[in-house]
Amino acid sequence: MGKIKPLLAVLALGLLAYPLLPFANEYLLHVVILVMIYMVLAMGLNIVPGFCGLLDLGFVGFYGIGAYTAGLLTVHYGVSFWLIVPLAALNGALWGVLLGAPTLRLTGDYFAIVTFGFSELVVLFLTNEIWLTRGPLGLPGIDPVNVNLEFLHPDWFWEFVGEAPYFYLALFMVLAVYFVLRRVEDSRLGRAWFAIREDPLAAASCGVDILTYKVIAFAISAGIGAVGGAFFARWQLFLSPDMFKFWESFLVLCMVVLGGLGNIHGALIGAVIMVCLGEVLREALFVAGLPPEVRFLFYGLIMVLIMRFKPAGFFPAIAATARGNPLLAALAERIEKTYGERRETHS
């Protein structure tokens, strides 16, 4: 280990400095930023199916709400990005509570379909309310992110140009969400979520208020989705309702499933793999003369195969370390032997 660590540090520094180098490739940076946006989205979505065990098919709805909140506030009122991020997060979380509070008391299947319906309604709204969103024409002319310190010194105004500043901003966003979620995972909140996922009945008997914790999870997930959307709006500088269709939800879900439900690191790796796979498939399908949407053929297949053969995803790190402990392994085996059969009939 001693020899690898400095090597890793050099590698990390090299990656960090890459966008500043004169030969940095804009396309590569673009893809890396995209990966980081999806990392945020995957970590956000992971809370609901991963931590609480509820299928959320409408995640992109909150992403869209965040993006349009940011886009409209920028175009009409010129609000600063740094103010927009909390506003978008709050707006996303608000809709999460509004949708979650009445529906989260139902079984997971109904919840899945309600979230799906919600995200479709969001797209319909964005498409049809032309007075607000310009509909299918899209929302152009969104200002890039800027740092405005003119109240301190008249020259202190920087506007983001090119991909490099966005790279660092996205990196900061990923790290911030990552650290918050890692802390939440080990907190009372996270443990309550895991308890609900593993056995709602037992959790309720231990005094976990199931509905409240589920709504909190959904709101936080929605808020993170909205933050991702806000960044996306101020980075792409153009929004259209087509960007927030069901496919995006599916893609993010695929990342979470690939990395292992409930595994934050898995969600990060899943985002890297899926975005890269998407870029490769786009080229490959173009060569094969097929429409680019066909890449979802592979995504669908990936999802089915993983659920069939590797339901814990490709990176079940946390579960694996726990199972590696001989004491825990013996205990798990005994529990399985005694209660496994009963649990199967129970569920």
Partner: protein
Amino acid sequence: MLEQLLPQLVNGLTLGVIYALIAVGYTMVYGVIELINFAHGEVYMFGAFLCVTFITAVGMPFYLAIVAAMGCCALIGMFLDLVAYKPLRKAPRLAALITAIGMSIFLQNLAMVIWGSRPLPFVQSAVPAYLNETALSFSGVYLTWLQLFIFAVTTAMMLGLMFIITRTRIGTAMRALAQNKTAAALMGINVNFVIAFTFALGSAMGAVAGILVSVYYNSLYPTMGYVAGVKAFAAAVLGGIGSVPGAMLGGIVLGVAEALGAGYVSSLYRDGVAYAVMIAVIIFRPSGLLGKAVIDKA
């Protein structure tokens, strides 16, 4: 405004019986294995495409092609159960749901690879000419033979389905399974066979719905199952998931609501009506019109 009412009602009713035909597929599968088979909408789409393929590539007559497409879709349904859902019977619900979504996306894109992504017209030359003629007209309503054909076919299929479910051995087995899988197995019911049969039955009915819609609108495309599937699911929820008569009623109510909503409120939110109805029903009356409550036990 009012003279629009009757034509809108007829239009809504036509759509509604087709939704009902798809919805029974969802509700039957949900009844026996408690899974939302998201891929059901794709089976419906395959029904339409297979029918057209049988007409154009094999040269089958219209009615024979419908039967052949039904048979193929029944096989697709059983295959779906065999490869995707059966291995996950004992896995958590989430795994099965994710598989269902994955299958749906996979099949949709498979159709895109096979038949292309652009909408195709239905082969009009194969459709018997009388179907497009007006059969009845009264107070501003023109009913074509096609609409009567749709009503006749769906009614016959619904009656046949009710007969199978209530009067036959396998129907009894399906109902037993819906009540208690373990007890049904102990009574000597071959659980996996009954589940496969349920998939086949639902898929065959979905295929007919797909064909009827594509003839009615003279258009078929790989993503047609996506919206229709959700609407039919909404119909199943509206009627009370797990209840076959409920699915029929839900489909008709939803079809009429959609037509009236599009006619009197805003045609832009045509699809939104279905989603809004669905969300409202799930929030305020999750048991649906004719179903039993499904509140989470915990």
